[in-house]
Amino acid sequence: MSGEEAAVLLKGGTIVDPPPVLQSDRGSDGGEAGFVEDADLLIRRGRVVERGKGLAARGARVLDVSGMLVFPGFVDIHAHVREPGAEYSEDLKSLTEAAVLGGYVGVVLMPNTDPPIDSVEAFRAMQARADAVGVCHVYWAACVTRGRAGHGLTPMASLAREGVRLFTDDGAFVWDSRVMRDALLWAKRLAVVVADHAEDPWLCGEWPRAWGGEVLTSAGGLSNRGIEGAPWAGGGSRAGRSSVASPYPRSEAAPGSANESGYTASLGLAGRPREAEKIAVERDIVLCEATGARLHVMHVSAKESVEAIHRAKEQGVPLTAEVTPHHLALTERALKNFDPVYRVNPPLRTEADRQALLEAVCEGTIDAVATDHAPHAQHLKELPFEKAPPGIAGLEVAAALCYELLVEAGLVELPRFAELFSSGPARVAGLIGNKGLGRRLEPGVEANVTVFDPSSSWVYEPSRSATKAKLTPWNGRKFCGRVVHTFVGGRHVVERSKLRMEGVEAS
């Protein structure tokens, strides 16, 4: 991690500039979004020191990147690590290695670990651990509520003082509107973001924990054990203990695991209806508008939610939204063989939804692509569909997949792609300029750089991937376009699409 890198000259690439976010980013070219072909970038002592054509090497190691795209380093604001609690599914080392292989220089980690990141002590311990073993910049998000129970706010002020920029109970909707409003009121004061997993749990067949049921955990616990025995109180998790009697009848029925449609109903899968997402999004919009706080809608999946967000943004509500690569690429038709690698929340929806998401990415309703990288060990994805935990691992393919779906398909231009992967997510998570994240590649900026070769074709092989999630929808898929080099704060961590060992100097 430490140690001075020798200078590196990236020679002959196409440097892509997203639209500027900061005033200081109005660089040499007047600050317009665009790209410069056949340009060189000189990196020294962790920073970009020179940018231009025909730069002299002056002792720097020269990397020929002609024909390749040189982006500001990618930022993922939605990744799940399973440390602590389920390190067999993903730990900080494997996750950050997967991240840099995918071109990410910074990741925001979700706090739904076991135990969750809901206290200053937990945050400090895990941030220290991440800083020690991570190969990219790591930012932990913290929970909105203690134990992700849906009630009882975490010490948001103290956590914000420690450096937390994003709060979320991701995996679970903050279903109590009073709790959500309180969180947003704090967020406004603290200038932090609340990100919400917008899915109404009742419509999805998951009784919220506080009423005796259990919501999803990082390990994929799906049981309704908590509601055993009358009168619905008592059982359940440590965090979910409550004296409130549930008004719900006892049911052994599985919670929703697929988009609700005639197709998935024919498969016998309980649904997670689109209304569940729309209701949650609309409520969040109302509270966002009322409080003026920064609210971020995670993994938007349905057409109606996109429309609601579009409308709210036009009215000036300060919310942002993200979309995942898998919702851009796949539909519910992928479930036909009940392969649980396709199980994810919110669920894969219809082609009309997918098209609406692509359109929203083009027109700017979507602020960022976020992976929702949710790794699970192989044995967990070898269960029957309804028993397997939801989640798709995507860090290593997100850029290649989206390049194909967005740029190759002619839907977005390169600067917008750079925005979706670097400055957009950095802005959403309040990380612009933090260690140089989301900044344009101008002299003086920390050298977070992702070099992408749009003509390199490759096949995603789980045996060669860094993530511990070996069963994914991407296994064996051919991609055209690949992350070749990743620089994190000037450190050359990925070289020729392989992790670069510390201290090993390539010739």
Partner: protein, 349 residues
């Protein structure tokens, strides 16, 4: 097992997408096995030396016994597995369990599981024919085939055309087409949670019947586009058009209670009461897949009346399962392709 050349095996996972010629073959084989069962020694040696494993993760009386007896009537050995009292209680996964059974040399796996798609997963893991004996709310294809057989016998006997070829009563298919063509089948009850309903809807549609599903709005599927049937809320209205009625069990264990107010109200609106049955035409037959919640979805008087095919369905289940096991364990590859787990869907646009 995970990679390399896989033997091309065929499965019976559901009735959606099942080739009609295959349905016909199963039902015709079943008719010949019905003849076998009339013999003094109701046994044929066609599966001698083969082993059929019945792997049941849910309680079952008739389906498990029916499959096991079917296998024995075909001279197969039976490996009987129930999740209770097995290594499942030590936490063994479904994949490990079926892999173990496959490694013991079973020739066919009959699986029942509470999760939709479990049979399809098993089919992807083992190199053996897999028969879905009920997977969650998804499918229970041999139940629908049994119902078709039972109904087909009644309908064909009315048409009265003897099939000399098999010598086993009138054929289900004549020069005019199948006896199911134009049949109006009403399926009433908890459609949303019922695998029997799903299997019946697709099977009877492919046989040329017109299927109408009736139930409370909360127990119909929340979305129904692509279902080859019509839907209604009014049982009395639907019964006016019915030629056959399939009454479903109210599956309280799968969450049906969430959608209804009370069992009494359910009975009043959707129960096949004696009074409703009295209004049916004389030829209208009534089916129930069992087990019955007596006095809830159907009255005892109706169950015991001449129009009830319940014990007929059980007998039909046996011969249909003999036909399915026989065809899957001996057939030339390729026949069942339509029903087989298709290739993984391509990813992307």
């Amino acid at each position: 097992m995970s990679s390399g050349q896989r033997r091309s095996v065929t499965h019976l996972l559901g009735t959606s997408g099942l080739d009609i010629s295959l349905v016909r073959r199963i039902l015709e084989e079943a008719r010949s096995f019905a003849e076998v069962l009339k013999r003094p020694v109701p046994l044929v040696p066609v599966l001698r030396g083969k082993t059929v494993a019945t792997v049941f993760y849910e309680p079952s009386t008739r389906t498990k016994l029916s499959f096991e007896l079917a296998a024995k009537r075909l001279s197969a050995d039976v490996l009987s597995f129930g999740a209770g009292g097995s290594s499942v209680e030590k936490g063994e996964s479904l994949k490990d369990t079926v892999s173990t059974i496959a490694a013991m040399g079973a020739d066919c796996i009959v699986i029942r599981h509470p999760d939709a798609g479990a049979a399809a997963r098993v089919a992807s893991w083992v190199d053996l024919p897999v028969v879905n004996a009920g997977d969650g709310r998804h499918q229970h294809p041999t139940q629908a085939l049994a119902d078709a057989f039972a109904l087909g016998e009644v309908l064909s006997s009315r048409h009265g055309e003897e099939d000399e070829r098999l010598g086993s009563g009138p054929a289900f298919w004549t020069d005019q087409g199948s006896v199911f063509r134009g049949l109006r089948l009403v399926v009433v009850g908890d459609i949303a949670h019922s695998r029997v309903a799903r299997s019946a809807v697709w099977l009877f549609d492919s046989l040329g019947a017109r299927v109408e599903c009736v139930g409370p709005p909360t127990l119909l599927p929340p979305a129904t586009e692509g279902w080859p049937c019509s839907f209604g809320f009014d049982l009395d209205d639907a019964l006016e058009r019915a030629d056959a009625v399939m009454v479903l069990r109210l599956q309280l264990e799968r969450g049906a209670s969430v959608g209804i107010c009370s069992l009494e109200e359910y009975r009043q609106l959707y129960g096949l009461t004696a009074e409703r049955a009295d209004r049916l035409g004389p030829d209208v037959v009534v089916m129930h897949p069992g087990p019955v919640n007596r006095g809830v979805e159907i009255d005892v008087e109706v169950l015991e009346s001449h129009r009830a095919l319940v014990s007929h369905q059980v007998r039909a289940g046996l011969v249909v399962r003999m036909a399915v096991l026989y065809l899957l364990c001996t057939h030339a590859q390729g026949d069942f392709d339509a029903s087989v787990g298709q290739e993984l869907q391509g990813i992307g646009v």
